[in-house]
Amino acid sequence: MDGTATLPARTAARRGLRRGLVATLPLLLGVAPFGMVFGVIARETGLDLVQTMVMTVTVIAGAAQIASLQLLSDGAPALVAVFAGAVVNLRMAMYSASLAVWWTEVPMRVRAIAAAVLHDQSFALSVRAYRENPAMPTAERVGFYAGVGLLTASTWTVATLVGATVGGRLLAEIDLGFIVPVTFLAVVAPMMRDRVSALAAAVAAVLGLAFAPLPYGLGLLLATAGGIAVGLAAGRGTGGE
């Protein structure tokens, strides 16, 4: 794609955008409740509305947002909470590398903006669409990604706002201590697609429990590293995933 968008490129970009928006619709059923849960948890943790919304718009990664706030409310130092959230988001380095393969002709300034909405859905839907249609022009690839990214991010933002403003009043009577583990398990269980990832998850859970008395962050790091190490060893033993 050269700097001046030619007419076919613009048509392709628009077609991609439309397809991306349509492909995203069913996923909003999952994005919206998760965003509301974050809004409620953020306010319960003690964030004001501005802090809650700044966080949700700039991070756009529910599990990491909730994980870091959970550590903060447990009394962990702020930098440890940042570190834990970043570890949860490390998977996005993999998304970044996978997307780059399909985006060799995309200019750097477009990549810099697009990266802001790189998350599970925009990565998964885009790469699936690119694989199904390898001949897709670059402009359509970017358009598709933009459709997914913009619709998920805006739904996420509105849902957080609803949770942060009226959610607390609706749920004021209920002890919400159970909602964080339920949310995390609901996110992680569908990812356990094979024996290797299920084994890695089980090892990490047991180690997480065993190392829970260690100072904040350290137990989490050791348990995660232990789970990954066992998963990698098991993957080698069975000749891959």
């Binding site: 909470a81 996005m92 137990g219």
Partner: protein
Amino acid sequence: MISDAAIWTVVVGLAVATYAIRISFLGLLAGRELPAGVMRALALVPVTVLPALVAPMVFEFSAPDGLDPAKIAASAAALGLGLATRNVLAAMAGGIAGYVLVALAL
């Protein structure tokens, strides 16, 4: 009460760290390939870090009232439904339903 400074540190710090991770191979590291072993390790990050975080929350042995059966039931329901349906929303709904049922029964 968590200080404003701590909250802003987390908000800004996590935003910066997450953007750095997102832009990594699209930007500064563009053209470099991750070794296959590193890709496999990164693929295992979410399925290990979240269970490691969750386990001590569910089995909170140090809680003043001891273990919470409703929380354990909610977590088991979310995990089971998530594994069976591969659907985040179904797992969340199941977890909430499990909590309400056990909390009402006790």
